[in-house]
Every structure is written in structure tokens, then in C-alpha cells.
């Protein structure tokens, strides 16, 4: 009866349609829905929210470019937005050229940097996550490693770079080592915290069910710790991308960081600005990807 009232109010607004609705609502003893208003149709796409999301950032961007343009209009050293854009088009028109080991397209530079991040990162995950599990599960290991971690964590990753160069004697492994050492801390710590924070209730459920240790790890511990692990991974990626650019500036070779430094040496400010934009964009994309993965595996009930 009640639903009949609501549906009919959405369907038509003609007087004839209102009559049966009035009759229905009277029959159901429901209070009458105000008849006079031509109410909006069933909620369509929320254009307003979309506009709110898209327009302000665009306005912000435009504002930045406007300020930039105004400040550099008469400058000789700093390029204008227009000039930078033209140069960007040129750079991206042929991203994968190869003119020699130190002069490759921007595409290759980005890919090389990403490759180093992936390796260093992957190693950090392979070492850090199991270690985090052990630290979280066993008090004694926690006591052994926790002061060490607290000591080494605040050290800037770049301070580790000379050690990498000393040990590996080459730029590539040294850069990967730097990524490894800076990404590993959040992975260890977050995983350990995740294991410690598994609610006792879940473990009690496992105990009442008398689950085997393997089942406890796979069906209880692992899914429970996953969100914490992914947070650790996400934090690491941000730092890793940051660090690789700096590391490459110091070591040289192929990579986006190296390109920045190289272009500075050539006083090609336009390229530096383009690089900044590219680095930021890639970082953003990495972040988005990981957020998407985290959401896929979440089971938010709190």
C-alpha cells in the first residue's frame, strides 16, 4: 500500500494519475504526499557532485599556470608555460629513441627508473614481510630487532647510497640497494603491527575450532594482516619513487633522475620542468594503483 503511493508519485504528474494515488493513500490511511509539486524524476546521474570534483582542481591548475605565466612573461632564464608545453610535445613525440647509452628517450628513462624501483621494492617485500610476520608473532624476535629498527629507520636513504656504491661498485645495484633499504622499514613495521593487532577474538575462534597452525596462518592471520601489509607497501612505494630520482641524480646512468641532472648540466630548464611533471604523474599513478589493490582486498566493517 505504502509503496503504491510512492511509485505512483514518481511515474506521472497528471491529474488523472494523481487520483488513483490519492485513492490508494486514503485506502492505506497514509498521509498524503504533497500533490502540487512536479517532483524531479527518479534520481539520475549526480552531475553536481561530478562537477564539484572536477572543476576546482582544474581551476587550481589554471591558476598555477596563470601565475607561472605572469611571473615568467619577461624572463630570460625561466621558461614560460607556453614554451614548456611546446617542448613537452617535442619530447613526447618520440619517447623511445636511442642515441647512445646516455641519451635515450623519456620513455626509456621512466621505464628504467621503474625497473629499479620494482627490483628494490620486490626484494624489500620478500625480506620485509616475512620478517614482519616473525617480529609480530614472537616477542623475543621483536625485542631483538626493535631497537635496531628504531635506530636505522630515521636514516635518510641517500646516506645508504655510498655504502651501496662501495659494496656493489656499480651505479645500478647501488640504486637498487638504496630503494631496498628505504622501502623495507614500513613493510616490516606494518606487517609486524598487523600481526600483533589481529583481534584476539579471531584467534579464539581458531582455538575453539581447533584449526591447525597452517590453517590459522592462511585463513586467519594472512587475511587479517593483509590490509596492514598493503598500507606498508603503499607507504614504501611513495618513498621509493622519491628516492630513486635522487639516487639517480647522484649516480648517473639511465633513468629519470639522471635525466633531470643531465638537463640541469645542459641548462635545459624546460626539460627539468617536464621531468618534474612526469615524475609527479608517475608517482600519482603508482599510488592510485596501490589504492585500487588495497580496496580490492579490503573488507571494511568498522
Amino acid at each position: 500500500m505504502v509503496s503504491a503511493v510512492f511509485h505512483s508519485s514518481l511515474d506521472t504528474r497528471s491529474a488523472e494519475a494523481r487520483a488513483p494515488r490519492v485513492a490508494a493513500s486514503l485506502a492505506a490511511n497514509e498521509p498524503l504526499v504533497p500533490a502540487a509539486d512536479p517532483a524531479p524524476a527518479r534520481p539520475g546521474y549526480d552531475w553536481r557532485a561530478l562537477l564539484l570534483k572536477v572543476v576546482p582542481p582544474l581551476v587550481g591548475m589554471a591558476l598555477l599556470i596563470a601565475i607561472w605565466g605572469t611571473l615568467t612573461r619577461d624572463s630570460t632564464s625561466f621558461p614560460t608555460p607556453g614554451a614548456t608545453f611546446t617542448e613537452a610535445v617535442k619530447v613526447f613525440s618520440d619517447p623511445f629513441y636511442r642515441n647512445g647509452p646516455n641519451d635515450q628517450g623519456i620513455g626509456w628513462n621512466i621505464l628504467f627508473s621503474l625497473y629499479r624501483v620494482a627490483i628494490g621494492f620486490g626484494l624489500a617485500a620478500a625480506v620485509g614481510i616475512p620478517l614482519g610476520f616473525l617480529i609480530g608473532r614472537f616477542e623475543i624476535i621483536n625485542n631483538m630487532t626493535s631497537p635496531l629498527i628504531s635506530l636505522l629507520r630515521p636514516v635518510s636513504p641517500l646516506a645508504w647510497l655510498p655504502i651501496g656504491l662501495l659494496v656493489f661498485k656499480a651505479a645500478n645495484p647501488a640504486a637498487i640497494w638504496t630503494i631496498f633499504i628505504c622501502s623495507i622499514w614500513p613493510m616490516i613495521i606494518n606487517t609486524a603491527v598487523g600481526v600483533q593487532r589481529v583481534p584476539v577474538d579471531y584467534l579464539n575462534v581458531a582455538r575453539v575450532l581447533n584449526l591447525s597452525e597452517w590453517k590459522v596462518i592462511t585463513r586467519i592471520l594472512f587475511p587479517a594482516v593483509l590490509p596492514y601489509m598493503l598500507t606498508g607497501v603503499r607507504l614504501s612505494v611513495g618513498t621509493a619513487w622519491l628516492v630513486i630520482v635522487a639516487a639517480e641524480m647522484l649516480t648517473g646512468g639511465v633513468g629519470i633522475g639522471f635525466w633531470v641532472w643531465d638537463e640541469w648540466n645542459n641548462l635545459n630548464v624546460k626539460h627539468i620542468l617536464i621531468a618534474i611533471g612526469v615524475i609527479g604523474l608517475v608517482g600519482l599513478v603508482l599510488e592510485w594503483m596501490l589504492i585500487a589493490i588495497a580496496r580490492r582486498f579490503s573488507y571494511d566493517d568498522h
Binding site: 579471531y202 582455538r207 575453539v208 575450532l209 581447533n210 585463513r219 587475511p223 587479517a224 571494511d300 566493517d301
Partner: protein, 266 residues
């Protein structure tokens, strides 16, 4: 004749960084098969501790606990627990949550077809068959608690242990679930030990109400034998003077007597 559950002179002392905490002293309790016993008392009176001891989740500092003539040495599916906050694994659906328990208990002897049937039946028993594919975060608190009960019952336990199962729910849902629990227990003839704060719940559901003194070193104070006939009708009982007397007795124990006891002539 031995009772189904026997708690013999159990003491519980917890040692922690802050020192020793004497939770329970001189606990003696017998529960017969098919009986519904409620543990009631103020916070900190050790009733949850006692339930955990019966469940086997904790070992007593001294004393012995027996279930069906065997010592309770560890937790197990024959003493199924319904926790206060449902404790459904959030990454599994309701069906999978119950199935986890069914699988654990029956997989060795039954085929997957039968396991599936058991899981479905348990969910139907608590009227949650329609929500089998939902995840815990998609259903209400009352429904989660029902699935928790389904999981416990699916194991066909010897004893059903409930730790304030309806405490986190609103009054109407609580009333509804209490009625359902009554029906389920009547059908399955389970032996039940329940911890609660709620006086009405205790009188409505129990055969015996075990009233515990205040902690620390809490012990059993009084036991009330509620011999109201079953099936119990909530609405009808409101008018039954016996129900009122029982209720008053429990309230009196909890709120009047404790603190009003005169000094002993000693």
C-alpha cells in the same frame, strides 16, 4: 551420578606486569545435560573468566573442570562459543564462516555435499539462509550475532557457551534473538551456559541463575532455580507473579544485598 559439566574448586589468578589479580575463588558448579544455566553479576565478577575456563580457552590456576567426564584441557568444537562481538571473520561470507566450522568438525567423515547441507541448515535455523552470500560488514549487528550462533550450533557441540551474546544489540533485536534462542535450544536440547548482565534475559531463558559476588576473588553467591514451565512466553510471563519474584530476587542480589550485608557476629 556425575553431572555433565563439573567445575571443582576452581581458582583463577592472573599474573601480569601490574601484579597478581585474583579473579575467581572456590568455584564449584554442576551443570546437568540439557540445562540452561546463566552466569550473572557485576562487571569484573569473573563470569566471563569462568566461561572461558569452561570453554578451555584458559586453564585454571587450581581446580579441575570436567565435561562429560573428561577433563577440559583445551578449547574444542564440542564446547562451542558464541562471542560477545560475533567474531565473524570479515573476509569470509556468512556461508563461509559457518562452513569453516562445519568443515573442521565433519570433513573427516562426510562428503562435501553433506557439509554444504549442514551449513545451509545451520543458517536456516537462525533465519539467515537468505543472507548466506553476504559479508559481515553488509549485515546488521543482530544478523551477525545470529550467524555467530549458527556457526556454534553447526558444530553440534555438547555445550553451547554464550558470552553476553546480545549485549551489543538494541532491545528489540535482543528480544527477538532471545525468543529464537529459546526455540533453538528447545529443538536441539542443548546444554547451555550463558553469561549476561540482563536480569530479564536471565529469568526468561534459564533453568538456573548463578549469581556471582563482586570481584576480585569473586565466587558464586546464590543460585536461583527458575522452574517456570517451558515453552516460555515472554508476553505471558510479564503477568506471571513468579516471573516478577524471580526477577526481583536477582535484582535484589545484584543491587541491594551486595553492600548491605551487616557485620557477622564474630
Amino acid at each position: 551420578m556425575k553431572s555433565f559439566i563439573e567445575v571443582q574448586n576452581v581458582e583463577m589468578v592472573f599474573s601480569s606486569r601490574k601484579g597478581r589479580f585474583h579473579a575467581l575463588r572456590e568455584i564449584d558448579l554442576k551443570v546437568e545435560r540439557g540445562e540452561f544455566v546463566t552466569l550473572i553479576g557485576h562487571s569484573g565478577c569473573g563470569k566471563s573468566t569462568l566461561l572461558n575456563l569452561i570453554a578451555g580457552l584458559t586453564r585454571p590456576s587450581s581446580g579441575v573442570l570436567l565435561c562429560d567426564n573428561r577433563e577440559i584441557a583445551a578449547p574444542g568444537p564440542e564446547r562451542a562459543v558464541v562471542f560477545q562481538n560475533h567474531s565473524l571473520l570479515p573476509w569470509l561470507t556468512c556461508y563461509e564462516n559457518v562452513h569453516l566450522a562445519v568443515e573442521r568438525v565433519f570433513a573427516a567423515t562426510e562428503k562435501s555435499e553433506q557439509l554444504r547441507a549442514r551449513t545451509q541448515a545451520a543458517l536456516e535455523l537462525v533465519n539467515m539462509g537468505h543472507a548466506a552470500a553476504k559479508r559481515p560488514h553488509e549485515i546488521s549487528g543482530g544478523m551477525k550475532q545470529r550467524v555467530g550462533i549458527a556457526r556454534a550450533l553447526a558444530m553440534e557441540p555438547k555445550v553451547l557457551l554464550l558470552d553476553e551474546p546480545f549485549g551489543a544489540l538494541d532491545a528489540l533485536t535482543r528480544a527477538h534473538l532471545q525468543d529464537e534462542l529459546l526455540k533453538i535450544v528447545a529443538r536441539t536440547k542443548s546444554t547451555v551456559v550463558m553469561v549476561t548482565h540482563d536480569v530479564d534475559e536471565a529469568v526468561l531463558l534459564s533453568d538456573r541463575i548463578v549469581m556471582m559476588t563482586n570481584g576480585p576473588a569473586a565466587t558464586i553467591g546464590e543460585i536461583l532455580h527458575v522452574d517456570l514451565e517451558r515453552p516460555r512466553d515472554r508476553v505471558g510471563l510479564v503477568e506471571d507473579s513468579r516471573y516478577t519474584h524471580f526477577r526481583k530476587a536477582v535484582l535484589d542480589f545484584l543491587y541491594t544485598r551486595h553492600g548491605h550485608v551487616e557485620r557477622v557476629a564474630a
